[in-house]
Point group: C2
């Protein structure tokens, strides 16, 4: 058995049976081995950023790692932006990066570069496999790092001759715990202090992130908030937030520091559960980055490497909160809008039509501003955010989520400028017949940057600056781009058209695109 074969068998044995890939020559033995190990499912991407983003989306929904297969340093580089997002999402995943044969290194061939250095930017684990015999163990070490906590990006670099040489050893499964579980035991003093804050009667907020945004942990923090009267907030861009009718209503901390400051105004105690102390997304001249209000004490109950289950259970016991007693979101649905198609009416349509158990991959940016409000009372669904701020995440994460949950409807809420970074994802959706409905929000500009240009203190931007944020010369026809990549696509210019097209797209199995033509300003 060659190395590649042993690597795939070891991965499959550990429950990693999906590989998002964009291979090249140095990965051909891995590709060839796919016919020997049919338990490994492979999904082809036309660009590495699609593969890495898909692995992230897969992990957020499946709760376990996928693998990627990437081609040397440039392939890893192309995947880096979405690996950055995956790192911020604490998504467990494993990159297999092919490299030149060890015997070939000394020639400094054209594709050679320092892969380990590139990988370090995003990876909690980086290793180059040096022997075929050791490759299975290398893979297990990578997976252990990926499982965390925190869930992490692990990168294993595999020279071509390590893959092709015989002598591979399959490492049997070793009872690895679930991704993100276990971790540092809670600090009892910190729990006591947080409990005292929650019982103090002073204005207190619980800020949740990461693992606390879903399932039993979300129920438990909601019960604590209800029991103690604390405000319940989520970090700005959680990896996965469960929300909708019947679930705890959780407001996310605003992206704009001005609004986040209002949300936190007067808070004397801030209890962090798998979240970081709030800071603004960017710095702005003359404005503080730190969003913790003056005089507020911060209590960290659980960090990403903590045993969050134990921490939440401990704190719940201290404040006397009982699971299931938190507030629940009532079912509400906006009525279908009429007239002009705007960010508001688009949001109303989506709120009215979002199907039960949907997954929303949200890279709507400025055009998506009103969507959280309009969908708050929609049937229960999952919300996947732009965790690391590196745009080009939305479509790839939708791919991975749809692969993880083939029976659920995925809605990719996708801004135009950001879509263009990884638009190749549409082809993979078509190829795999994924149930992804893309809502392409076309406002013909990098609108967020027009806003940021003001916010960073440029009061009257000149025409040359504005021109760098403009997407109208020429306007992009996303229907044609989508059709070119093999998808059904329609364009909506009124609210009625949008509702009709969205309803049809959501009801039709497989992928399609609805391009919503929006005004260039909110």
């Amino acid at each position: 058995m060659n190395g590649a074969n042993s690597l795939i068998r070891t991965l499959v044995g550990h429950g990693v049976d999906i590989c998002f890939m964009n291979p090249g020559t140095s990965e051909m033995h891995f590709v060839a081995a796919l016919d020997d190990v049919t338990e490994m499912h492979s999904v082809l991407a036309l660009f590495e950023g699609v593969a890495t983003g898909a692995a992230d989306g897969y992990a957020r929904i499946a709760g376990r790692p996928a693998a990627t297969l990437l081609h040397l340093g440039p392939g890893l580089g192309n995947g880096l932006a979405n690996l950055h997002n995956a790192r911020r999402a604490c998504s467990p995943m494993m990159n297999v990066v092919g490299d030149h044969a060890i015997s070939h290194r000394r020639y400094d061939a054209p594709l050679q570069s320092d892969i380990e250095t590139v990988a370090r930017n995003v990876s909690a684990f980086v290793r180059t496999a040096e022997t075929t015999q050791g490759l299975g163990n290398d893979a297990v070490a990578a997976l252990a790092a990926a499982f965390g906590p925190p869930g992490s990006v692990a990168t294993l670099i595999v020279p071509a001759d390590v893959s092709w040489t015989d002598g591979g050893v399959v490492v049997p499964p070793s009872g690895m715990r679930l991704a993100g579980t276990g971790g540092t035991r809670p600090d009892e003093a910190a729990l006591e202090a947080a409990a005292a804050a929650l019982r103090s009667g002073e204005r207190t907020a619980i800020l949740i992130g990461g693992r606390a945004c879903a399932g039993e942990l979300l129920d438990a923090v909601a019960a604590m908030a209800a029991t103690t009267g604390a405000i319940l907030l989520a970090e700005t861009f959680p990896a996965r937030l469960e929300r909708g009718a019947g679930r705890p209503p959780v407001e996310r901390l605003a992206y704009l520091a001005e609004f986040a400051t209002m949300q936190l105004e007067g808070v004397r105690h801030l209890v962090l559960v798998d979240a970081k102390s709030p800071a603004s997304f960017f710095a702005y001249p003359g404005k503080p980055s730190d969003l913790v209000p003056p005089g507020c004490t911060v209590h960290t109950v659980s960090a990403p490497d903590s045993d969050v289950t134990a921490a939440v259970a401990g704190l719940s016991a201290l404040v006397g909160a009982t699971a299931g007693t938190g507030h629940r979101q009532q079912a509400t649905a906006p009525s279908l809008p009429a007239g002009a198609l705007t960010a508001q009416t688009m949001s109303q349509s989506l709120g009215a039509l979002l199907p039960e158990n949907a997954i929303v991959s949200d890279e709507g940016n400025t055009s998506g501003l009103f969507v959280p409000g309009a969908t708050a009372g929609s049937p229960p669904h999952d919300w996947l955010c732009l965790t690391g701020g590196a745009i080009g995440q939305g479509l790839p994460v939708a791919v991975g989520a749809a692969v993880a949950a083939p029976d659920r409807r995925v809605v990719a809420l996708q801004a135009d400028g950001s879509a263009l970074y990884t638009v190749q994802a549409w082809w993979t959706m078509a190829r795999e017949g994924l149930n992804v409905t893309t809502i392409l929000l076309n406002n013909q500009s990098y609108a967020v940057l027009n806003m940021e240009l003001d916010r960073v203190g440029v009061e009257v931007p000149g025409p040359r600056a504005r021109d760098m944020l403009d997407l109208t010369r020429p306007c992009i026809d996303f229907v044609r781009v989508a059709e070119g990549l093999g998808l059904q696509a329609t364009r909506a210019t009124t609210a009625e058209e949008f509702s009709d097209q969205l309803a049809r797209a959501l009801a039709t199995p497989g992928p399609s695109v609805v391009e919503a033509v929006l005004p260039s300003r909110l």
Copy 2:
């Protein structure tokens, strides 16, 4: 004057007056300053790989650096693959990468990452500017490294507060020498040994690369070859090779080691002029990577950091070669083909129609196999190759070449699979009205990998492996993709259609795409 303003003024003063950009919030002061310093021309890309590839293409044609403007670690990551190619091309260029404000670092905001580490993979110079006052000097240091020799990628990371703070100092031009000139003086003993080899009467080859593939240096090595009877070869993927009627005919070393071995068979002396000792592109099981024939002596006359002008002059004098005495390619043109459109007939059409002084950005891969032969006697032109092997170079390099030489016709010879990595370049061509004709070679597969799958020793690939190299589910409609991105596009399915469409595209100012539908196998 703020830092951003001083940075742009310093760049312009040093002759860097083009910036290919994809900015974000942390670069907004640089963008705003474009209205103050109108000498800086800015070209917007929808994806960073387009910006970095365009800077590479610009440098190859203009012979001087462009700047890029990129958004933090993820933006640099997206540009990394084409920076890898630029590094291999020894293209001088300078990345300006925005970062969070220094005061913001401690919050580890979502977009924060270790930018310097990512940059090291491709950059000869990496520095983070720490003060506004020092930013101009930082830029000059980066440019000095970019100019080389060897021409290099320099990366300057600029925190947002260094950009927005007042106190910037414009550094006046300091008589920097031309990119790639100067360098290590030739080793007289090495020149003597190479001259002795050339005069020995034994089978000798001169292998040229880098700066020796154009202009007076190319003339001089051709004269040496003619004077001594040596074989004249170029490296497989030169950054820029001048060729065509009236110029020295130079055969490139084949990509396939099997053919390269034949080209070098029996060679007893190999004289390297700005080229590396030949090795195969990839390693293959049981085959040598080193392509130097047994018993052959290698003489390095000039390396990328050498003073190549002095080395070539010295060697010419030693062998008594006179400039202008080398062989010259006769003007020949294939006749326009009829019938089926294949890799061969497509090449014949291009050979017949290639306009004088054209620039060919060649990422034709397997479908482009016959093009060099068919265009050898076409009117003089420049050929830009995939220097680092990282696909997705072709269209961005065409953008940069067209910006550098607006009066010349650029032909992007572009394979389908590779096109999809940076297809966003088409939008920039449309926006800037660039004279780029893309020939999109659509054979519906990663054909090179089908070939490589055989070559790495997989004798009977299974259906699951073959499926990972297949681009037919769904077939990509490149005409629609191009139209969606704002270009005129047509599709040719016969040789006659292709010739007609290509002739029209070449005669029409501005960009367009001709999709050549080719058989899936050569």
